[in-house]
């Protein structure tokens, strides 16, 4: 009886559990206990996401009515193959990031602030899950702001080690708030045309609604707002500083899961809400999103090449990787969208591992990780550095790593559409990404440690999550069946119409 009640309410639990645990964590005086709460919260979410994924594997679409109010009047949560895959990726990496957070937070955050830190952490995670599941356009804005405000707090907490974190957090707050408000303006226009806030309902009413200019304006504002949140070029400017100056644990979590939710919402806007008006979606995708994605790939990669600070370097690289995901989604073919979803998963694995390892370096060095300070670190911290190397190779797209699978499916999808210019650009940018990776690896492994450098202590507390992620990169590079199958189902669910 109890079990059945839990099963039917899984979608709500995924959001409610982290959100409810957050206030308890905030008042806990002991840092370790707050961390346990966060671990329990993300762990339960991960289990719930896995269960949802197994249910939706056969194309089942769960529609959960909050408070038993029938949609379109009430708020609806939708879990289908697309959202459940995103949820599994986000909650899984969220759980591993929490596992790694204990040591990193203990070093970088004052003990008395730890409770509040994990409270904000749980709010971010819960907000992002809600963002992915909700089928109500305005409810989406609320979840967007829950997670955005909480992540600003987390980023600002980096001020204990570097005061620039405050400015990074402030800029993210302002740019993010403008983006979210843009989205709300767009929703207002679409609501004015259709008289509904439910995404599925919007989709079915839009083709017949005499929208005219309001349709274009609403669509434009919604997409523009989400582009900011997903950090797509040229509105990615908040991201490098935010990830670069945030506490290491926060960089890990945000880089692995935060922009993924916004990318997923973008896909929902294109392929669910505006499914009935494909002409404007096609124009936007091929004339705007594809060029922006390719631009982001190049800008991110080139900025990463010129960056000496390791955290910021990989934050710039995230901009490029988000470009690959957006490019896949913007191809709007089943192959393209599944390539996008594959990279959502693989990029979470890659960047989660990379930022975890950087966190380990920073903790051992007691200073920011830059090309200068990590010289010869490969021999001084071999276990952490090897995991970093594996994730780096995966980022470059070496065969037998997860990154290779992403590139392979993306290239295949581009070939299908016969756009050889884009193909050439993607291949060139991949080659360029090797440049900054080589720079880092060369400094780490081939140069001797500077004389009279202090002995570095490895950080065994992060071994478990770090190596799980690193081995995950190899596992999903050799046996990609699960994610490829799930991504294909996700693409079918997304293109199949309906919310």
């Amino acid at each position: 009886m109890m079990g059945a009640a839990i099963l039917t309410n899984l979608p709500a639990l995924l959001v409610v559990v982290p959100l409810l645990l957050a206030p308890f964590s905030a008042v806990l005086p002991i840092a370790g206990l707050a961390w346990v709460l966060a671990l329990v919260g993300t762990g339960i979410s991960f289990l719930a996401a896995l269960m949802l994924q197994s249910v939706t594997e056969n194309g089942v679409r769960i529609s959960y009515h909050l408070g038993n109010w029938e949609p379109p009047w009430g708020i609806e949560f939708v879990v289908d193959s697309a959202s459940s895959l995103t949820l599994v990726v986000m909650s899984g990496l969220g759980f591993l990031a929490t596992l790694a957070a204990r040591r990193l937070v203990a070093i970088e955050i004052a003990d008395k602030d730890s409770g509040k830190f994990y409270a904000a952490w749980l709010l971010v995670v819960g907000g992002l899950f809600g963002l992915v599941m909700t089928a109500d356009a305005f409810n989406l804005f609320v979840f967007l702001e829950i997670s955005a405000l909480a992540s600003v707090i987390l980023i600002g907490m980096g001020a204990g080690t570097d005061r620039r974190a405050l400015v990074a957090g402030y800029h993210y707050l302002v740019i993010g708030a403008v983006g979210a408000t843009f989205y709300v303006i767009g929703v207002g226009f679409i609501y004015a045309i259709t008289g509904t806030l439910n995404m599925g309902d919007m989709a079915s009413r839009l083709p017949d609604a005499a929208g005219g200019a309001a349709l274009y304006v609403g669509f434009g504002f919604m997409v523009a707002g989400m582009l900011v949140k997903a950090a797509i070029f040229p509105v990615h400017i908040w991201l490098p500083a935010a990830y670069g100056y945030a506490p290491s644990a926060v960089s890990t979590m945000l880089a692995a899961i935060a922009t993924k939710a916004a990318l997923y919402v973008l896909a929902r806007i294109f392929f669910t809400i505006f499914a009935g008006t494909p002409e404007i979606v096609d124009i936007a995708l091929s004339n705007i999103i594809v060029p922006l994605a390719v631009g982001g790939i190049f800008v991110g990669t080139i900025m990463a090449i010129y960056e000496a600070d390791i955290k910021k370097m990989f934050a710039h690289s995230s901009v490029a990787q988000i470009g690959y995901i957006a490019l896949g989604l913007a191809l709007a073919t089943p192959a393209g969208i599944s390539a996008g979803f594959i990279h959502i998963g693989n990029h979470a694995l890659i960047k989660g591992g990379i930022f975890m390892a950087i966190g380990g370096f920073v903790a051992a060095l007691g200073a920011r990780a830059s090309l200068e300070t990590i010289t010869g670190i490969g021999r001084r911290m071999p276990i952490t550095a090897t995991a970093f190397l594996i994730c780096g190779l995966s980022l470059a797209g070496l065969p037998l790593t997860a990154g290779f699978i992403s590139k392979l499916y993306l290239v295949r999808a581009i070939l299908e559409t016969d756009s050889y210019v884009i193909l050439a650009l993607v291949l060139i940018s991949s080659a360029l990404s090797v440049v900054y990776l080589w720079k880092v690896m060369e400094v780490m492994w081939m140069q001797p440690a500077p004389a009279r450098s202090p002995k570095l202590v490895e950080n065994p507390a992060i071994y478990l999550p770090l190596w799980m992620v690193a081995l995950g990169n190899i596992w999903f590079g050799i046996d990609a069946g699960w994610i490829v199958g799930a991504a294909r189902l996700a693409a079918t669910a997304l293109l199949g119409g309906g919310a």
Binding site: G156, R164, Y170, V174, A180, T181, I185, G188
Partner: protein, 134 residues
């Protein structure tokens, strides 16, 4: 043309407020002024939603049993209640961050903060060269 404008004057106000706010967010270097701009920008959207829900001649949406009564649409108004809460939270968090920035950098002017950031990232801070210039 004039009549049309007069009929939608609230939307014109919305556009003016929106552009004012957005301009302040982009152009002002003072962090507090940026927050003020952001608040104006968000408020313009509140007015936009409230205008959407208002029916000409409509009354408050409380059933009075008379089938001829014209009601305003309550939904946009309720949505904006939520958005106002979000807006207040955003402003509060922004101001709190500004306080901390002021403590850490001794300024709330963006150009001065950028200058302070640059001097921190240098290994050895340069001596002010104003004397040499004179």
């Amino acid at each position: 043309m004039i009549e049309q404008l007069a009929g939608s004057w609230n939307y014109i106000i919305v556009i003016i407020l929106m552009m004012t706010g957005l301009f302040m967010v982009i152009a002002r270097a003072n962090l507090v002024k940026k927050m003020i701009g952001l608040s104006i920008f968000q408020t313009s959207v509140f007015i936009f939603y409230i205008s959407l829900g208002k029916m000409a001649g409509g009354t408050a949406p409380i059933l009075d049993g008379n089938p001829d009564t014209l009601y305003s649409n309550p939904l946009p108004h309720v949505l904006i209640l939520t958005a106002i809460v979000v807006g207040v939270a955003t402003t509060a968090l922004g101001l709190a961050l500004i306080l901390r920035i002021n403590e850490a950098f001794g300024s709330v002017e963006e150009d001065e903060i950028i200058a302070a950031k640059a001097s921190q990232s240098l290994a050895r801070p340069k001596r002010p060269t104003s004397e040499a210039a004179e």
